[in-house]
Symmetry: C2
Subunit: 224 residues, 2 copies
């Protein structure tokens, strides 16, 4: 094994990453750009959602979430899923920088763990576009808007479960320090636990209500 194999900041130290190139951008820059881009997506989604009639504030907030999470899935996670060599990138490509940075919280990204790649691939290719469809579905009050939200949210929860359980089974030792562990691995992923959970509960209730209303109206028709 060459000495250069250890020239990366990730844990476990034995991880072999030939031709690893250190990140060019600071954590502040990377998180700043991501934060500003997210803010712009959410703000513009909020403004656009206001142009559709009869949408509640919850529905408009949901449109913001689906636009944000959909673009995150497609752009950030899509780049990762199809860029096995991002850690060698010498061009300071922003998305490569993101994953070089995130790998400090979970080196399985740089290490190309098959479980992580599978989950990210499914998320980017199937869930990402479906999220953007949800933005449209809520705006148009489509009859499939709640089942679509449940489908994607459960997919996000399933993916996050696989993500955490595989790490646990493999010893949960993929973070460069507790700081990165809690900031990236725990805190950032937690949004894809509690938000999908709330959405599943809301849409589940709404679907049950729709079935009760349907059953009620069938009964009425029979009575008359």
């Amino acid at each position: 094994m060459e000495a250069s194999n250890y020239s990366h900041p990730y844990v476990p130290r034995e991880l072999v990453l030939p031709d690893f190139t250190p990140g060019f951008l600071s954590q502040f820059t990377i998180l700043g750009v991501f934060g500003i881009a997210s803010f712009l997506v959410i703000t513009s989604s909020w403004i656009v959602s206001g142009r559709f009639p009869k949408l509640s504030k919850i529905e408009r907030s949901l449109m913001c979430w689906w636009a944000f999470t959909g673009l995150t899935h497609i752009i950030l996670e899509g780049y990762f899923a199809f860029s096995p060599h991002f850690y060698k990138d010498k061009s300071a490509h922003f998305l490569a920088e993101v994953w070089k940075e995130y790998s400090k919280g979970d080196s399985r990204y740089a290490g190309r763990d098959s479980g992580v790649v599978s989950v990210e691939g499914i998320t980017a290719v199937i869930e990402g576009p479906a999220c953007l469809l949800t933005v449209y579905a809520i705006a148009k009050k489509a009859s499939y808007r709640d089942v679509l939200q449940i489908a994607i949210s459960l997919g996000q929860l399933y993916g996050t479960a696989v993500y955490f359980i595989t790490s646990f089974l493999e010893g949960d030792n993929f973070a460069s320090s507790p700081y990165y562990y809690y900031l990236y691995y725990v805190f950032m992923n937690s949004f894809w636990v509690w938000i999908p959970t709330l959405i599943v509960i809301r849409s589940w209730k709404r679907i049950c209500t729709a079935f009760q209303a349907e059953a009620q109206s069938k009964k009425k028709r029979k009575t008359f």
Copy 2:
């Protein structure tokens, strides 16, 4: 590495399984017992479903499927998820025999691949009991019966996708022979692709219809 490490029938040959104990039952016996048990579960579910009023043949068939797949998840997959040493079993425990046999189609089971264990754990602990709840929900025409079926079916599809994609990413070389590959890995798993897909389509349509009916009746109320 000791010579005994290679005393198993699985591929890749380098897989290390200390204290591996060969299966005691023949393939015919294992598949026969599974087949008869499945037949009994499906037949008795069909008979029981006939005692509930106003269930269509499709609904009764779905009850059979959910009873069969739920018990498979809980008993077979539940045993696997929590028995990391099944391949050492010397007691001819039927469930250990099942997984010793199935590992010929996918050695990641004997090898305790974290992706496979995660998916099987989620399937056994969450989806299994939810399947049995579905049998009840269909029998009672509960308002959550379709969203529950979609939730579990999408979980099964997500799990199967992770299962196949991780194997593909790791080289798809886990079967002892093409016979086991196609019979166990491809054919047997295919049931958890096409059946959940059909159920998702059916329940998706039914949920949309319920929302359309609800919207319609709200409109009517406003008209009067």
